[in-house]
Amino acid sequence: MIPLEYWLILSSLMFVIGAYGVMTRKNAIVVLMCIEIMLNAANINLVAFSSYYSTLHPAFGTDVSGQVFALFSIAIAAAEVAVGLAILLSVYRRYQTIDVDKINILRW
């Protein structure tokens, strides 16, 4: 059994990597992927905690809500990507680019 800490370190790293990517990558598709990495970091957390509470902490009994939550959030992430790609497609048609730096006519 892999200890909980390992999962948490993994998820934290993924979360930070994702956040870093959102802030720095200029290709909107990559930004989208970084957001997915962040969401998946949270999913790992949910599943890891769920497993931890079910096996290592019997006081809580078998707890599946974390795993159910992860399923929900995977489904939501899929929907989000679908809408996101559609939006990026339409922005590409208008701007001929998906470089997020160049999409900035709306500002102060």
Binding site: N45, D63, A79, V83
Partner: protein, 498 residues
Amino acid sequence: MAVWNYLDGFFPQLLLIAFALVMPAIDYVVKDKRVLAWASLVPLLVLAALFTEWLFIGGWEPPASDIALLEVSMFSGLFVLVFVFVGIVVVLGSPEFIKADKNQGEYYALILLAITGMTVVAEAADLIALFVGLEIAGISSFALSGFRKTEKRSAEAATKYFIVGGFSSALTLFAISLIYGVAGTTQIVGIEPVLAGYVSGTEPIDAGPVLVLATVLLMAGFGFKIAMVPFHMWAPDVYEGAPTPISGLLAAASKKMGFAAFFKVFLIGLILTKTDWDIAVGALAIITMTVGNLIAVSQTNMKRLLAYSSIAQAGYVLIALPVATQYAVAGGMFHILTHAFMKSGAFMVVAAMGAVAVGEKLDDFKGLNRRSPFLALSMTLFLLSLAGIPPLAGFASKFVLFSSSVYASFEPGQGWLIWLAIAGVLNSALSLYYYARVIKYMYMEKGTGDSVKIPPMMAVAVGFAVLMVVGIGLFPDPFVSACRDAAEAFSGLAPGWR
């Protein structure tokens, strides 16, 4: 029937989803696209009538939910009513605005779905339901803000909204996963007893910094929805670029959904660690109202001005969180209610001006009184109400809200809360500066152009909002009682909450 028993707690959502699903089919069949608006008004009006009866008259009661995901109470009921009313105003204002666009069926379907998501958030008893609701509303409104695909600004607004929105939902989900890790449950009311165990020391784990991290991430995630400084940067851009009725939906309803989530998670789930977050939220409330009002002064686009004004208004409502009394929750909900009408009404005025090709720049408001006295007078009333001038609705709700913090500051150790009220009052005075400028433009500046005829449905939408703004201002008592009942129901959700 067993399945129905299981589902009837979802009654409002099912009604909305059913109509949302048939909307594209209707679009395919009918020639006159206004039929779509009428069709999507059906579930909204039904819900408005039922919930009004429940909250203000008594008689009908929504079916209770059998499953632990949803919790139907007067608290959620009032929020549902706000969302539904805003939905009515937005739908009424839409047909003329989007008459030249394609895919109108999807437009109304997405509005209904967004409202569905908001009602799920309002009724959520579980973090899973809360997150799912936030995402349903969020994804629908991403698509809505990019509805005008042929328009550069609309596409850009959608992109920005989507990137920042996705980013903050990732933050929210990560925070929820941490809370789940600390508390071992996703039930919002279940968090507090576990935390109580930590506080009294029967549990071995020190959850301190992790919980603080989760709290702060939640502040960012919910703060994004309500456009709290410094998580507000997306709001002006998106409000400006999105179709104007959708800006109204975002400012008047989506923002309120953020407050519903904020209230539930912070005042029920995290109430025991209040000392960790109350000063931070109080400080953010003051910063939010001040920044919103200061930047609004220099705006030249009406939608941006309204965006910054609604950032400031979010700052006022945030006062309710650190005060955390029943009175404060009632005040916060009352302001949420009144703000929904005045802000959606103000956006509908801008939408009407867009629909008759007047424009949405501040300069386009010059001499509006000559061109459309009705719009000018309505806008004046909305703006004065936003500034909190009696006897309009904004005054009554600000009064209840601010006085709640004054009241709470008499408690020992809570003296600092009075600064929230003082900041609120000073900010209201400051905000009058830019509202009065708009009024001056409308009545005292010479404009160009002939008088315009406002499409009847838009006039109905604006007129309804005016009626509510004036009516609540003159007779606030029934509305305050409803908010009080809601706050009482809210405090009934969690034991140990004052």
